[in-house]
Subunit: 336 residues, 2 copies
């Protein structure tokens, strides 16, 4: 099938190509009767506006990109649902990119989205992309950071107080009598991981007794948790930590699964707390304690801010919304 | 920052705009020395090719779209991981769209991707989109159906034998002595749901005793499962089914959670089997029986076929790969 062009639509509707162009771009300039004739011709020919041509004129298209650290982590799909709930009514399709915590993959998406001239970008950065984000913004794409506070504060952001979250997790483990805590997560360069770890270290130091050992993982999924658990099990019994603080719930669920399969009693031998409070935390074989982040609300808030920035790109003061995390204690840290 | 244009790059490199254009599109025509001068100018100015202009010439861009029924379902993120494993080395970024089982949202993505002239589309259709897909293909986008066999067989596809899967689930419940099976899933118009249900009905009919009741759900997530469980619990005890076949694991996990919270014993009072065998099935409070689909392999196979179609768009015989599902029996259907 040949691709229908504006001139084909014009010929079928019996108007000039300029009138078709007006109908597409400035419909108020065209009479309702003509509009309806042009619409019929468009339907009949299966004409689709060439977005490439339109973007050359308009500069951007209506879509919004969301780049997440792990599309398989329910935390990020909950964020995405929150975003979709706000963008849907605004008629802006959301396209998702999965950086998989890789700075190289993240750059691939930023380049693609820059080339496609999307109108808005929501991103939880994996690498150091501040300069690239500035350039995107200079080219007319609205940018909002998700789950991350911009250090330079020049991008709007929605984040959670990860220092408080890390502290809540560590203090809870100390409260239930644990003194040797393994922190499992990584890579340690990821800001969320670094901040949660630092806050936990500070909490242990303030407490005055006890210690925190770091078991860095390469990724943040259940497989990483199972691998860390094997390392854990390779330690002589008397040197094993009596608690695990996993940097997210997927890692915690992997640890829980591998430890219980090896006969370690949770929480009697080892208490485990995760982070995020994804749906699967509560329904795990041993319900998992966690630090709840309001993922859906974060996504919705980020999308609302993005729509504001799209409407008014030259806002003087970028908005920063910070949510508070909450401790959710379940069976994995409390003997019943 | 003003946007750098080809002529700015040309001026800085001391060459003509035509030479810059050659360097970008036909680098073999340009001497290595000149290429290197142009590359330096590009780096210095932060020049990015305007994809819109490039697409006008080339017809498509390198990205591949994947439209899934539910981005929060680990089955689809496993499929996406399989796709990424193949597309990454081929230097083709994957962008994800979530139709959320809505035909309207699906059309929005198809329109966006058509406008953006992506080079390939992988889709698990929600609505009747055969005509739209034909048009996309006629415009140069390679199309492969995922988790769905094209009835007309004119699109390449990767699917799982859902008839066999539905039969395995129902026969297993009959095998363990259940005679009143509730099928929970929906909307019933979704092909996978319809096929699994039909196969289960046929298995019950062949068995000769027992019955299957349909409890249609509006969606296929844990919330839908919890809602169905409430309906289940509202039935008089003697009329309650003694088994549940949920059309996917998310629904099954929601049912499991709500029934156990209400004091129903699983599997003693009610046996539950899901579908997909997502990671969370094995680690549920009561490990969930399921019908395993090889999600990651399906995604990888679909991506390999897509790359073949992109390389050779006029293949005479579209390829169809069908995987076999497997029964995975766990505690939710077997008393230990």
């Amino acid at each position: 099938m040949p691709i229908a062009r504006v001139r084909d639509v014009a010929a079928l509707a019996g108007v000039s190509p300029g009138t078709v162009s007006n109908a597409l771009n400035h419909p108020a300039k065209v009479t309702p009767e003509t509009l309806s004739r042009i619409q019929s011709a468009i339907d009949e020919l299966g004409f689709v506006r060439n977005d490439a041509a339109r973007q050359l004129r308009a500069g951007t298209n209506r879509s919004v990109g969301l780049v997440v650290l792990d599309v398989a982590n329910p935390f990020f799909t909950d964020v995405a649902h929150g975003v979709e709930d706000e963008l849907g009514p605004a008629d802006r399709p959301l396209i998702l990119g999965n950086s998989a915590q890789s700075a190289a993959r993240e750059l691939t998406y930023l380049t693609l989205f820059e080339e496609q001239r999307i109108s808005g970008l929501l991103i939880t950065p994996a690498g150091n992309v501040v300069e690239r984000l500035r350039r995107l913004r200079d080219r007319g794409t609205a940018v909002v950071l998700v789950d991350r506070l911009s250090r330079t504060r020049d991008f709007a952001s929605v984040s959670v107080d990860d220092r408080l979250g890390g502290r809540l997790a560590a203090e809870h483990l100390l409260d239930v009598g644990r003194r040797r805590i393994a922190f499992i997560g990584g890579p340690l360069g990821i800001t969320q991981v670094k901040t949660r770890l630092k806050a936990a270290q500070d909490a242990v130091a303030r407490f005055g007794s006890g210690e925190l050992v770091v078991m860095a993982s390469a990724t943040m999924d259940a497989t990483a948790g199972r691998l860390a658990a094997e390392e854990f099990l390779a330690l002589p019994r008397r040197r094993r930590p009596d608690a695990v603080f996993a940097a997210n719930d997927l890692v915690a669920l992997g640890v829980l699964q591998a430890l219980t399969m090896a006969g370690v009693r949770v929480p009697d031998d080892v208490a485990i707390i995760g982070y995020d409070d994804i749906d699967f935390a509560a329904s795990a074989a041993i319900p998992l304690s966690s630090v709840r982040q309001p993922a859906h609300e974060m996504g919705a808030a980020a999308a609302r801010i993005l729509l504001e920035v799209i409407a008014d790109p030259d806002q003087a003061n970028p908005r920063h919304t910070t949510f508070k995390p909450e401790l959710v204690a379940r069976a994995s840290t409390r003997s019943s």
